[in-house]
């Protein structure tokens, strides 16, 4: 029995968040508001008493008492106002976070069909931008209206108490304002809607003209395009003026009503004082109270506008996500337990929202442990069928039965425990290789930690699955390319030094042509300029290779050996070229692999390039100079081909290297440990330490040989597991963009295999792999025959003999089903698929 999830989130009203879980905070707020209202009125009474009683009686001690009370009331009111603001923020932000968490949780569980019609940008902007004003509203929802209405009422009551006639006449303007202002606001809202539509039209027109600018130039149709734009711009002008008039109208009418108050007080109050019906102090208190009416009134009007805005946005966001999830998440009642993996598909239909049938009366049986291949032309429904079986989409008719249980009725928990799904475009999360490897297992354990959790895989388990999927050598390479922490793993470093000796002794000769060895007198084209100058391992943080641009002493050294100016020119050229080539390139690490400009510095580089159009390098500030120098110091000629390394700079760098040894011994004796054949090079990767140089060739043939030798050396030193564990800490970048397509797909396969699902569904899961890797995965599936059920959507038809059954699909139907050999000899659709249509 599957437990239904709470789907009411999108149906909740905005007001429901005001009190939920915040009653005590809201009550505290109310108490403070009551106190503050009293403290706001108190000074008015004190004011009146000072004018009416104290001045006439000339009682200075009473004057002092009243002044102290006045001071106390004003100070306390200010302090409490701060507390109210703090409480408002706390309530608003808590509610905001809660709404975001619950809405996001709801969004993640929405059907896949929702995400086909909704862009990722819409989801994130709804969550981040559109919901933000609701925090303001919820924080204010009680405090602002209650405090301001109470203040208004208190002042109104006080005015009536002071002089009933004058009070009632003065207050009579507010009901009129309450009648007029909402009407004006409605007009403003309408005009605002038209403004948004008008702006969209103008935007579309501009986009169209600019996209087809070559046509505009070709036809010389400048005036035609201008005319289209001008017509829309004039329409927008009218709309905007009306909108602004309404907006200002609200303000003006509000100010008018507020301004009329004192006029009435002077006219009527003055008359009553002259007649001797009220005292002068009453008029003073009256004018003060009336002036103070303005603030709560203004705040109420602003609150009204914030409410309108928040309400519109909140409704829009909730409407966007007002869909229900297709499957229950957790199992309630007795667990289904581990299934055998028998699969039955009965009269299965899947239709899109528009009624197009992607699957039409599909029938199929796969016995537990059988391997089934799904083949067919593009769009034949293979992936849709795989997704129906894996409970990724909800079918519209018929059933998919897993050990006799309908997949549609099973909870997500039972599905993820028993079924592993590998998609063609597997998504890799940011984080490390290890995080991604454990993703499926952790997801499975997250359902019910007290239920049937499986132990997190051990390092051996992970290495095994990496080897099975052919990813192990890549992970090992990540480990070998790691720069170890300065003060850690000394034991490991000693072993690596022994590996260096063994490499030189056994394989040095063979790889001599493929390694650029570190040599005091040779320029390293596969190293950065900074590495070429320092030619050692920085021991102090301020001499870290990435921080030399900020190091004043090092800048002095560059000046002394005439390196500063050529480095500045090189850096500027690198930045200019990068900005020119990349333009507004997406902010992805991938594009920055061939330039010394860093992704995080790119925006600064764009600004700098603009600045350098008008200024010379000498006019730049220290930060800009540091950016340029750092960029130049990161320049690796063999990698960053956007500029050439000038011979003069190369010569100066080599001279600089010699100078630096003497200079650093004198100025920073503890700053750098120079490269030595007998020392571990802390600034270099494990691999470069083994070679005592840089690998300059990465051809498949050389790589294969090298991998064999390195694995041999690592095994010899008992380092294989340690280095692969280091490799598993490799950060794969955003969406795994530091991995190749093949590596991403192998990782996606490995993470599912780690959880040992009874039913494995592979939806073209090896399409990004080369033949060798596909063969390896296929070989991996062989021993699973008879134990694990495999459903595999494949496009490589030469793999068919590895399957027990093949289902050939065409236009949403299974047109052939049987053993691969039988179907081939029948010379039907499968034969046609393999050999092409015969005459």
């Amino acid at each position: 029995m599957a437990k239904a999830t709470d789907l009411s989130i999108t149906k909740r009203s905005l007001f429901s968040w005001v009190l939920k879980g915040k009653v005590s905070l809201q009550l505290t707020l109310l108490v403070i508001i009551l106190v503050i209202v009293f403290l706001r009125v108190l000074p008015l009474e004190i004011q009146k008493r000072i004018v009416n009683d104290v001045i006439s009686s000339k009682d200075t001690s009473l004057l002092l008492v009243y002044c102290l009370i006045y001071f106390f009331a004003v100070s306390l009111a200010s302090g409490l106002k701060f507390v109210i603001n703090w409480l408002q923020t706390l309530i608003g932000q808590r509610a905001m976070t809660e709404i975001r968490q619950q809405v996001y949780s709801h969004i993640l569980r929405l059907p896949l069909s929702f995400f086909r019609k909704t862009q990722a940008g819409t989801v994130s902007s709804s969550l981040v931008v559109e919901l933000a004003p609701t925090a303001d509203f919820i924080g204010m929802a009680i405090a602002v209206p209650v405090s301001n209405i109470l203040t208004l009422l208190a002042f109104a009551a006080y005015l009536v108490w002071l002089s009933p006639l004058l009070g009632i006449i003065t207050l009579s303007i507010y009901p009129i304002a309450l009648f007029v202002i909402p009407r004006l606001q409605r007009g403003a809202n309408e005009a605002n809607k038209k403004r948004l539509e008008g702006t969209q039209k103008v935007t579309n027109q501009v986009t169209e003209s600019i996209s087809g600018i070559h046509e505009v130039h070709g036809h010389g149709s400048f005036w035609l395009e201008e005319q289209k734009f001008n017509t829309l711009a004039k329409q927008l002008l009218k709309i905007r003026i009306i909108w602004m008039l309404y907006r200002y109208g609200v303000k003006v009418i509000n100010n008018l009503f507020i301004g009329l108050g004192p006029v009435l007080v002077f006219v009527l109050g003055g008359y009553l004082v002259i007649k001797g019906e009220i005292a002068l102090g009453v008029i003073v208190a009256f004018l003060s109270a009336q002036e103070k009416l303005y603030d709560p009134w203004k705040e109420l009007i602003e609150f009204y506008q914030i409410y309108q805005d928040a309400s519109v946005r909140y409704k829009k966001v909730m409407q966007t996500f007002a869909e229900e999830t297709e499957f229950a998440l957790e199992q309630v009642g007795p667990a289904v337990g581990e299934i055998a993996g028998r699969l039955e598909v009965k009269s299965l239909d899947f239709a899109t929202e528009s009624g197009i049938k992607l699957l039409d009366n599909v029938n199929l049986t796969v016995e537990a442990g059988e391997h089934l291949a799904l083949v067919g032309f593009s769009g034949s429904g293979k992936s849709t069928l795989a997704q129906c079986i894996g409970q990724l989409v909800s079918y519209t008719r018929g059933d998919v039965l897993l050990d006799g249980l309908p997949v549609s009725a099973l909870s997500k928990e039972e599905i993820v425990r028993n079924v592993g799904f590998i998609a063609q475009d597997s998504f890799i999360n940011s984080g490390t290789v290890d995080d991604n490897l454990l993703y499926a297992v952790r997801a499975m354990n997250s359902y019910n930690p007290n239920g049937r959790p499986i132990n997190e895989p051990t390092l051996d388990d992970k290495i095994t699955v990496l080897q099975q999927t052919g990813l192990f050598i890549d992970i090992l390479r990540f480990g070998l390319n790691t720069i170890l922490d300065r003060d850690q793993q000394n034991n490991l470093k000693e072993k690596i030094l022994r590996m260096r000796q063994n490499f030189q002794k056994n394989f040095g000769q063979e790889f001599a042509g493929h390694v650029e060895f570190y040599h005091d007198d040779k320029y390293l084209y596969h190293s950065s300029i900074a590495e070429n100058i320092i030619f050692g391992t920085p021991l102090r943080k301020d001499y870290d290779l990435g921080k030399l641009g900020d190091n004043r002493a090092f800048q002095g050294f560059l000046d002394a050996c005439n390196l500063r100016q050529p480095l500045l020119e090189t850096g500027v050229e690198l930045i200019r070229q990068t900005v020119d080539i990349m333009g507004d390139v997406p902010k992805e690490e991938f594009f920055f692999a061939r330039t010394p400009v860093r992704l995080e510095e790119y925006d600064r580089c764009i600004t700098l390039t603009e600045k350098l159009r008008a200024l010379s390098i000498s006019r730049l500030d220290d930060d800009e100079n540091a950016l340029i120098i750092d960029t130049a110091l990161r320049f690796i000629p063999a990698l960053h081909k956007i500029i050439v390394l000038q011979p003069l700079l190369e010569k100066l760098v080599l001279n600089g290297r010699n100078e630096f040894r003497g200079w650093s011994r004198k100025h920073v004796p503890d700053g750098v440990s120079f490269y030595s054949h007998t020392d571990y090079l802390g600034s270099q990767s494990i691999l470069n330490n083994i070679f005592f140089g840089n690998l300059v060739s990465n051809t498949p043939a050389v790589e294969d040989r090298l991998n064999q030798y390195i694995v041999f050396l690592l095994v010899e030193e008992d380092l294989l597991e340690i280095v692969s564990a280091i490799g598993m800490d490799f950060d794969v970048g955003s969406k795994g963009d530091k991995l190749s397509g093949g590596q991403r797909q192998k990782l996606a396969i490995a993470r599912v295999l780690l959880k040992h699902p009874r039913v494995l569904i592979m939806d073209e899961a090896t399409s990004a792999l080369d033949n060798k890797s596909q063969g390896r995965i296929q070989k991996l599936l062989e021993p699973m025959r008879g134990k694990y059920t495999v459903i595999s959507v494949i496009h490589r038809l030469d793999m068919l003999p590895s399957y027990d059954k093949v289902a050939v699909m065409k236009a949403g139907k299974i047109v052939e089903l049987g053993k691969p050999g039988e179907l081939r000899s029948n010379k039907g659709v499968l034969y046609e698929l393999i050999h092409g249509k015969t005459k």
Binding site: Y525, F590, R594, K641, I643, S697, T699, A701, N771
Partner: protein, 177 residues
């Protein structure tokens, strides 16, 4: 084969590897219609590789994910049937081959080998497709260029058949695809 590191003396040249590769890209009909900005990005992303004589660039049956522009040297494409290798075509300096590999993944029908020491400019599918995300209009330009190539191919095949005197048109018609 080795990744070209451009020997030290070549660093003295004023033209960077980037500019040379940009020139090469502009000579490739399939890519020459792309925006200049797109070509510059591709020129930054592609690599120059030196293959020694007999080194294999593509193994038949493998997924080749690279397109090659021959800067210097000579390559031979071959087809293997019943363990017998048949030379199909030779490609020389200035030829651009395997452009379709940039668009999709399919096992290669032909092997490709260096007939002599050869320098190629190599553009990977992943790099190309990433660049196309930034310049999405480029895909339609490339598709149009491929369609023209198919028609040109059929025309030349038809002309070839006509020359034989006893034309057999059953194997032409790739542009009908």
């Amino acid at each position: 084969m080795s990744l070209s590191t451009e020997k030290p003396s070549e660093y003295g040249l004023n033209r960077s590897g980037f500019h040379q590769d940009l020139e090469h890209l502009r000579q490739i009909p399939m890519l020459s219609g792309l925006e200049y900005g797109c070509l510059k990005l591709l020129a930054m992303l592609c690599r120059t590789i030196d293959f020694r004589t007999d080194e294999q660039l593509i193994v038949a049956g493998e997924d080749n994910d690279c397109a090659y522009f021959i800067v210097s040297g000579r390559l031979v494409a071959s087809y293997t049937e019943d363990e017998t290798e048949h030379a199909v075509r030779e490609f020389n300096s200035g030829h651009f081959i395997c452009g379709a590999a940039l668009l999709g993944s399919e096992p290669a029908l032909f092997g490709l080998q260096a007939a002599e020491d050869t320098k190629v400019m190599c553009l990977h599918r992943e790099e190309f497709q990433k660049a196309m995300q930034k310049f999405p209009n480029g895909i339609s330009q490339i598709a149009a260029s491929l369609v023209s190539d198919l028609v040109r191919w059929d025309r030349s095949m038809l002309a070839m058949q006509r020359k034989t005197g006893e034309p057999d048109y059953s194997s032409v018609g790739v542009s009908l695809l």
